[in-house]
Amino acid sequence: MTIATEQSKANAALKTEQWMRMYRRMVMIREFEEQVNELYTRALMPGLAHLYVGEEAVAVGICEALQPTDYITSTHRGHGHCVAKGASPDRMFAELLGKEAGYCRGKGGSMHIADPATGNLGANAIVGGSAGIATGAALSSKRLGTGQVAVCFFGEGALGQGVLYEVMNLAALWKLPVIYVCENNLYTEYTHYSETTAGDILARGTAFGVHAESVDGQDVRAVYAAAQRLVDGARKGEGPAFLVCATYRYSGHHVGDINREYYRSKQEEQEWKTKRDPIKNFTAWLIDQKLSDASTLGGIQSEVRAEMKAAVEFAITAPYPTAEQAEEDVYA
């Protein structure tokens, strides 16, 4: 065996490890959201939550291309981004239940999970609200020469917000290492995006000097490949990029959005779920490529489910913050 073959074998092993990590992460997100929905139906969760089910390949494909020190900003539909960037489910669930052990000591809840340890600058409940923050983080990276890249996740609804274009323009002018990742899941709450989005989505990047491309957001390998390329470019100083991911949310806008027929058909939902499920299709590919097999993958699924149940248990039994804590953390 030549050294080259050995090398390529090692590479292949590494690559397989990576695919398996991506698989696990996608399953984690799905199982996490399953639990969230259950917490909601069991009336154990305060308020509402926006599930990421169906969109797992976007967060996982992107974050796989990032270093732990790279930054992300997230949205109201943010659990997937947090998990993909490496957050631990127990502290996430604790946050969703408003417990002190949560990432934000219970102050943020589902829509505001933030975590310096994984470069997570925070989810944002203002649509488009984190575009400035992500771009500013990229400015820091450039000025301080740290080589970090910032990824700004947002739904296609944020294309309605002018601030997005303001910061894209700035990012292009200053060649900042920021990737704007648009998760086009076709709907903004209860309205199809074609009713709220004129013109051409990709052109909304290029018009402001930002390199733009689109990708099948249900294909984790495609997302990862695009992300790797764009993140590398950004890190090398080539400036910002805009990546539009075609995806779909399986559930309602939030856990309480049950009757959806007035804005989208069951058939449409069914088609995405059966034909374009990111986990199902990735599973098939892994087996087809002989990188794994059904039982291994099934095992991971069971493992993850147990992990999520334990995390939920942890959160349920964790104590609430005390009332006095309401006045803490207003000022640093």
Binding site: C104, G108, A125, G129, G157, G162, T196, T322
Partner: protein, 331 residues
């Protein structure tokens, strides 16, 4: 309330009825905002309107609060009577330039030639477990701005009558609805009526202490008044209904009569509505007051998500009761 045939309507139904009546009366009235048409807003306040008035008059917008608020200004100047829907009061942050530098100033800057008969409906209020960006009560900002009128209904009856007045007003009006109140019921007359701006409503007559309360805090104050009654304190609860114009006279006269006053408002306690109203009373009733005017507002913190934290940030019945009792020297 006038003595006429009434029904029980929810706050949301009262709002919807006001809009429907005004849209029938005046074809220039139209509505736009996010998910206002088939969805009828996330709070379902507008359900049914698009079916009656069509998508030409009930228009879904992109998520562009600044843009479509600005369009409301221009549309109002040129012949429409737009009702702009801003889903959460927290998103007013995005509309401030359009509201404050444009809507509020057009009439004045143009020397009285252009008018902006626009209504901006939005929400306020915490305790919905929605955290810091979906729970604010930012009406103080708008009350600070000359050129705007600011309306804060506290009952279905007031909501309907004030909204009809708002739509007929020739000026930009910001209309705040407490989102926790949408399902609250109350009597609403069958017959048409409107309620003038700048007329405070005495929600409960009393002799011992004046409690001025706005919007979401009116029910809290009335609840506290019931508790006070049990300890022999007869509270007068007054709802200004509009923070601008403000019915100073009614507030001052009440405080002169009772000699003690409190102001309860869900906005932040600092640099907000309570400061203004307390000052008006402290100045106007100075020589009659037995004690300083007591102010209660939201705690000076971003609204936290966690229920046990969120619950302590907003004045409660019990807290209002206790503060009133102390103020009356019965504590």
């Amino acid at each position: 309330m006038p003595e006429v045939a009434t029904r029980e309507l929810t706050f949301a139904q009262a709002i919807r009825e006001a809009l429907a009546e005004e849209m029938r009366r005046d074809s220039r009235v139209c509505i736009f905002g996010e998910d206002v048409a088939e969805a009828g807003t996330p709070f379902k306040v507008l359900s049914g309107l698009v079916e009656e008035f069509g998508r030409e008059r009930v228009m879904d917008t992109p998520i562009s609060e600044a843009g479509f608020t600005g369009m409301g200004v221009g549309a109002a100047m040129t012949g429409l009577r737009p009702v702009v829907d801003i889903m959460f009061g927290d998103f007013l942050t995005l509309t401030m330039d359009q509201l404050v530098n444009q809507a509020a100033k057009v009439h004045y800057m143009s020397g009285g030639t252009w008018k902006v008969p626009m209504v901006l409906r939005t929400t306020l209020g915490a305790t919905r477990r929605s955290a810091a960006q979906h729970s604010q009560s930012l009406h103080a900002w708008l009350s600070h701005v000359p050129g705007l009128k600011v309306v804060m209904p506290s009952t279905p009856y007031d909501a309907k009558g004030l909204l009809k007045t708002a739509i007929r007003d020739e000026n930009p009006v910001v209309f705040f609805e407490d989102k926790m109140m949408y399902k609250q019921k109350g009597p609403v007359p069958e017959e048409e009526y409107t309620i003038p701006f700048g007329a405070a409503d005495v929600k409960r007559k009393g002799e011992d202490i004046t409690i001025v309360a706005t919007s979401s805090m009116v029910q809290v104050a009335l609840g506290a008044a019931d508790l006070l009654e049990k300890i022999g304190v007869d509270a007068e609860v007054i709802d200004p209904r509009t923070t601008w114009p403000l019915d100073e006279k009614t507030l001052i006269e009440s405080a002169k009569k009772t000699s003690r006053a409190m102001v309860v408002d869900e906005g932040y306690g600092r640099y907000g509505v309570t400061g203004e109203i307390a000052s008006v009373i402290a100045e106007g009733a100075f020589y009659n007051l037995e004690a300083p005017v007591k102010r209660m507002g939201a705690m000076h913190v971003p609204i936290p998500f966690s229920p046990p934290l969120e619950d302590v940030t907003v004045p409660t019945e019990q807290e209002v009761f206790e503060a009133a009792r102390t103020l009356c020297g019965k504590g």
